[in-house]
Symmetry: D2
Subunit: 371 residues, 4 copies
């Protein structure tokens, strides 16, 4: 209720600043008896890790996750999992210039306004490093989802600045995305153009943003809740709360608003496998806030990275005009590293709704009375 927690039954609380002892997540409500694959958790952290290539930041975080509790002989106990990642490689001095100057489009000023105090030695709680905790927790969520059925959650870079990819959500695979981890775009031509675009930005001391898309397959019809906790509402919150996110779409999104109802509606059709399907999927797998069994499709807009290596106008902490020139190790484009973060946010949202649904209706869920 105080901002660093999410979920009702599968509840995640994160902690940690970018510089300090460490960061991590406490995962409450994990189903018990799951043989947790810690290597898979670590692998997700590696995907998020800075320093994977020349076009992303050169820091070697080498984060290792440690599980302090909630596991016994490799299995989840159902009690809280505490996942801790130590901070190292801290160079707070490189942040000293920002101690009394607010970096534009960063959270320096707003943290001072919110709390009257700010961990200026790094981005503090607003650092993108915080997402390591979400990725670790999301990796647990993914394994729970897999234990509940053959769920697959795959994200990819769909656009960088003006470079669009052409990717079919129905068929895209995790392997195709990871084939080129430098940009994590499964469209090879677009990937090459994106890489060039990112290199050009870096060379100019500038940065770029873009769009990440994500599909979740194998989600049964029935997940979600009406009104405030709609599945798409919770997905929107989870995705908009990612650093640098400025927009979220489900299904047809903003483009769909240009269609008429006749063109936009998804006709229902009989389906051998799942009973009922839709011929098209402009709904993005969610209707009335509840999953309909079709793939869930979301998109997230990430603004260009705020840290540009050029002098910019700003004010100091006394409110006087000054300038600031960031230095240090920062990505010119976070999109490739945002891919596992988006997947984590989606996994966390889905598993919580799955458990909530099971709690209310039992298992197996009720067959429609009219069916």
């Amino acid at each position: 209720m105080s901002g660093s927690s999410t979920g009702v039954l599968f509840r995640v609380t994160t902690f940690g600043e970018s510089h300090g002892g460490g960061l991590g997540a406490v995962v409450e409500g994990c189903p018990p008896g799951l043989l947790l694959d810690l290597d898979a958790v670590q692998a997700e952290l590696e995907r998020r890790r800075p320093g994977q290539s020349a076009i992303v930041t050169q820091r070697k975080e080498g984060d290792r996750v440690e599980v302090l509790s909630g596991l016994f002989e490799g299995r989840t106990l159902g009690t809280p999992l505490a996942l801790v990642i130590r901070n190292k490689d801290a160079k707070p001095d490189s942040y000293r210039p920002f101690k009394d100057r607010y970096r534009p489009s960063h959270a320096d000023f707003t943290y001072d306004a919110r709390y009257g105090i700010r961990a200026w030695a790094g981005g503090g709680r607003a650092s993108a490093r915080e997402t390591a905790a979400r990725v670790a927790a999301g990796a647990v969520a993914r394994q729970v989802l897999q234990s509940l059925g053959a769920v697959e959650v795959v994200a990819w870079v769909d656009r960088v600045a003006d470079v669009d990819a052409s990717v079919d959500p129905a068929t895209v695979t995790a392997e195709a995305v990871e084939a080129y981890p430098l940009v994590r775009c499964p469209d090879p031509d677009a990937a090459a153009a994106m890489e060039a675009r990112i290199r050009a930005a870096r060379k100019a001391g500038d940065t770029v943003g873009g769009v990440v898309r994500c599909v979740a397959r194998g989600i049964p019809a029935g997940l979600g809740a009406p009104v405030f906790d709609k599945l798409d509402g919770d997905l929107a919150k989870a995705l908009m709360s990612l650093p640098a996110a400025k927009g979220v779409e489900i299904g047809s999104g903003f483009a769909g608003t240009r269609l008429t109802g006749l063109a936009h509606n998804d006709p229902f059709v009989p389906d051998v496998e799942r009973g009922v399907a839709t011929a098209t999927n402009r709904s993005g797998g969610v209707q009335g806030g509840i999953s309909n069994g079709m793939p869930i499709e979301v998109a997230v807009a990430f603004k260009p990275v705020a840290t540009v290596f050029r002098e910019q106008d700003t004010v100091d902490t006394a409110g006087k005009a000054t300038t600031v020139t960031p230095r240090g190790r920062h990505d010119p484009c976070v999109l490739p590293r945002a891919v596992p973060i988006v997947e984590a946010a989606v996994c966390l949202t889905l598993v919580d709704h799955w458990l909530r649904w099971r709690g209310q209706v039992g298992e197996p869920p009720p067959v429609p009375l009219l069916g």
Copy 2:
């Protein structure tokens, strides 16, 4: 935690199906001693009401809100306000054809999947009528915001299908929006074109969607919480949970992803009134999940209305292919009526974060230690 509640300190729980005894909201945590203007609450309901013109649905709901509790001699007691709106004018028989056939892109199928039972006599809990409860609660939230300072929350129709308006968020007024309640677009030329577009859709038995934008002015810097409950994250959830919403943006949104960091960043500048301001507002008033004192700007994409008056393919509740031809009273475009609903969602989110902030840091908030 079960889907029909939102907020932490200013907490709203709604109830009600479109057909049945009635609907309403319980508002917990309202600050005490507020002289509640019930006429203003009723006025917001009138703005949301169907049947305001020839281009929107002809139902005369004439909803009257009744306050069952939480008021004494006109003032809020600080205890729960129960706002109840009776249902009338129910014609469940007009829904009988849909009892065993799923309307495309409606929530009929997903409710059956979720619960195994569905209130087929109307849209049930998924009906747009549910938003009356949010509007009533939002009208209370607006008054609380006003009592906390000169907060102004104004939304408008910014696009209908392909008809774009040109509206300056910095100067748009509620009066300009309400000057033409038929479409609630303060750009007169665009408004006329929008009306024509909506009439054309209605004539064709078809429907259209579009975009509503909203600005909140007078919000102090410091509202919001890091990580999961970011102010933009909670706004995204509140807006994406509105019926027919498929996309949400804050500030520069998806368009901003085409800029580079240098072009996108908002330089800080000294400001006589608020101490610190930004020269531009691509952040949309939120940085790092916390308000920065600039106007908060959001946009919502509403898909075209699912109820088109044409035969469509679907399946019945036994999963067999069939067709369905909706009839009845439905808007060809919900955008004009969505304007007060968007404002309500924004007000509810802001007031809750305001109270949460005050709880953690006290009043007046702390001056930054470095300031």
Copy 3:
């Protein structure tokens, strides 16, 4: 989170002052498809109703519960049930003497301190009348529990002032309790003595308190959660939050602290029916915060009613010494009417934990790995 809600999955929000439009409860998360017996809900309200006899208050509330939402053709939809009870028979003038004088051991002063405003025309939110909403919600909870298994929740008056009853929790029945609704004590001799004690208090313009005990049978082993949300912790909260409650016990309670560990421990024994049982039940059916399959046994201490019909010292709202002499219709002893209220609190707690458990572990629950 604002005080008038309880539960995580089966979540109840109540509203209403003693005088005003009405009061009620919104029940979120009720399992769908349940054929709700509204007469049974009404019957519970009758048990709580004042005016059942000469020894309790003579008001004829005749509360009728109305269900505004969440039902369709008699079955629960899984969406919020709104239960509304209208206020009538309001005589606020009888409260006018207390407008500016604080009644001793009532909540008049604390409400003023908490909110700066108080509904002096009745006890407001602190009125025992508020419990009607809990009883209505609890009656729904009881039906859900019954649908999940043969759960039986029975409370009785175990002591009035110094008059103790002798009741065996293992065998007491609802019928035996209701056989004498005047005092709701299934020990006939004690019941007669209690009645005499209550009549004596009434004659003296004085009041008495006592102890209500409650047993819940048929609860499977496994309900509850470690650490903060222990089953006995949540039961204690639910019971201590009842008006006039000053103490709560589970199992052996305070008396058990006089035994040594050897005498207090409950040996496990094989059991044909439930696999494992305990030879004694000093644990009261809960061990480590989780049910062990034995009957759950709790006790609640209710202080003597604060409204005594004698002049008492107090202060006025300006803080000056004065006196107050309550009049009106008040019970000399709330214990008999507290019986259904205690049962409601227990039912609400149990059903929420049952759903939470099902959400986390699925259904049927896992067999112990070592078993």
Copy 4:
């Protein structure tokens, strides 16, 4: 919402089994800018530590708390504080006999029933060791309370088995309690008798329980919330959720039920310091669920320790009758060590309600309209 969290604004999530990597707490919502005294936190852990004397367990845990996040230059940032305590001195082999046998009146069986898996190498999550995390978080809460005013929270051992102390809640001091940490009873004669009683139990391989009382002074009138989240309701939950707790009282408790209303009521009297006081304090500082400015007085019943060093009947994990004879390092009486734990639970409850109150009504709180 999954059992290991508590509080709304000042929210604490704990994690950790008795054996495993470690345990700890994440504290969300702490007011920012507080110069946190870590020595004071550590000192509370020392008070809770086993091995303080010959009459309590001989383990040398030597727990050191490490703060991983939420602090900057010694001050709280307002972001989550992660408090971690490493486990050491683990001897899981001493628990091997209980791997497939359920210890009577322990949580072995119920954890298996709840989760289907159990950390048999120690008490797991049900171990009293878990309370170290609460004590650490409570020590932070205490410092926040002190920063909000001169709040003093003092608990003591009021009874061991049949040995009663005579302690005046109005005047008892922390110094008097700590003067004899062996039993933490400020009545010297009773303390000596309690020590003898505990030694006798230990010699007999048996254990004893008792009662801890606690007083909180300096709490302003106005803390708490009506109905479900009453201050005494939340205190009851916090206290009943402590290991081995079987009963909770506020103010006059169970004994008060033997008084009549006239004898039990607390007359209001003018008070120079706080405006309004009560001549007696049978309410225990809480009326209608809200603090009235008088000292808050609670009591907790702790059952005798379940680990007795004698053969006892039980069943194995296959449900067959067997016996078990616990060995190892266990207290014959937890009461002295429960004193800081009770204080922690009270501090956590009070600070959360204080912040919630401030959030709803602002600061300073409103003066009663009638005042």
